[in-house]
């Protein structure tokens, strides 16, 4: 039986990945992760690609751009999703070139303004849907707001 096209998820390890896992928890397709570290041993993702991490190194971003093209052409995903960090930038560009639908959710950790990656993706229109997790930031930036990836409330704490 032919498999449904996968969803490629690009998220740095740590908080970005945590948010991505919450946000994609209802997706009933193969989820393919691209991250800077592979610390997972669960079943959330079908495959994991590990790439080099950088914030500002243009050379690594350039290399990652070609890696991104290769992954997107190989996977032919239904769509791509990211919660950042900066490793998502070359993938956002590659998604634009390969006409892969890209949904970006700006990280919850930026409470007062968009993340740097979010600003670049927004500025250059490298997205099909752009959401952020704080209502005031959404109002200022023109992003969509549908709440946060997980609830910050007091869950039964004494």
């Amino acid at each position: 039986m032919k498999r449904k096209p996968s969803i490629v998820v690009v998220a740095s390890s740590g908080g970005h990945l945590t948010q991505a896992m919450c946000a994609t928890s209802l997706v009933k397709r193969d989820l393919v992760l691209v991250s800077n570290k592979n610390m997972l041993d669960g079943s959330h993702f079908t495959r994991v690609y590990t790439i080099r991490d950088t914030q500002y190194n243009v050379l690594i971003h350039a290399v990652n751009f070609f890696v991104a093209l290769k992954i997107l052409l190989k996977e032919r995903p239904r769509a791509m999703f990211s919660t950042g960090g900066p490793i998502c930038l070359p993938f956002a560009l590659a998604a634009k070139i390969t006409r892969t639908r890209f949904v970006f959710l700006d990280t919850m950790s930026r409470v007062t303004e968009l993340s740097n990656s979010g600003k670049i993706i927004k500025k250059y229109g490298l997205y099909d849907s752009f959401l952020c997790q704080w209502e005031a930031v959404a109002n200022d930036s023109g992003a969509e707001y549908h709440g946060q990836a997980f609830d910050l409330g007091d869950h039964g704490h004494q």
Binding site: G14, H16, V27, M39, F81, L131, H155
Partner: protein
């Protein structure tokens, strides 16, 4: 009885966090055999081991969850991933936000999220605050396993699902 576990987690980024390491190392419980420590340092150098416990640079996510479940107290940087796990396992936490002024991150976003924490069992130590003395009796009282609660926002997850697959 199992010794209470104090878990310290500094995250997975490439910045050191010497300020937090020094704060825990200077507490009397660091050299006290009544507590077990697990210290996840990331890129931070931690040359002095606790009297009882281990230091690891990085560990798989599943191992971290198990440690959190068993811990009596967590001392942590203020990353979103850790905050998620602390809420999920309802732990007593001391958060120490990384700040750019001490070269602990490229910006002060951990301070932003720290200001959003409104939880009685979560204490935030801001840069100008003194790190609190650790209270063995409180830690002993909190020495119990905890089961996770699901804190995922499924309304947002459904919207993301529609956008990706619809």
């Amino acid at each position: 009885m199992v010794k209470p576990l104090i878990l310290v987690t500094m995250g997975t980024n490439d910045y050191p966090f010497t300020r937090l390491y020094n704060a825990i190392k200077n507490d009397s419980l660091y050299t006290d055999n009544r507590c077990e420590w697990f210290i996840q340092t990331g890129s931070c150098e931690a040359p002095v081991a606790p009297a009882c416990g281990v230091i690891e640079k990085i560990i798989p996510r599943a191992d971290m969850e198990d440690l959190i479940r068993r811990s009596a107290l967590v001392i942590s940087h203020c990353g979103i991933g850790t905050l998620n796990l602390m809420l999920k396992y309802r732990k007593r936490v001391i958060f120490v936000p990384r700040v750019a002024a001490h070269d602990e991150f490229s910006d002060d976003h951990q301070l932003q999220i720290a200001r959003e924490i409104k939880n009685q069992r979560m204490k935030v130590v801001f840069p100008d605050d003194q790190f609190p003395l650790l209270d063995y009796e409180q830690i002993k009282e909190d020495n119990k396993l905890s089961d996770p609660v699901d804190i995922t926002n499924y309304d947002l997850a459904e919207i993301i699902n529609q956008k990706l697959t619809g």
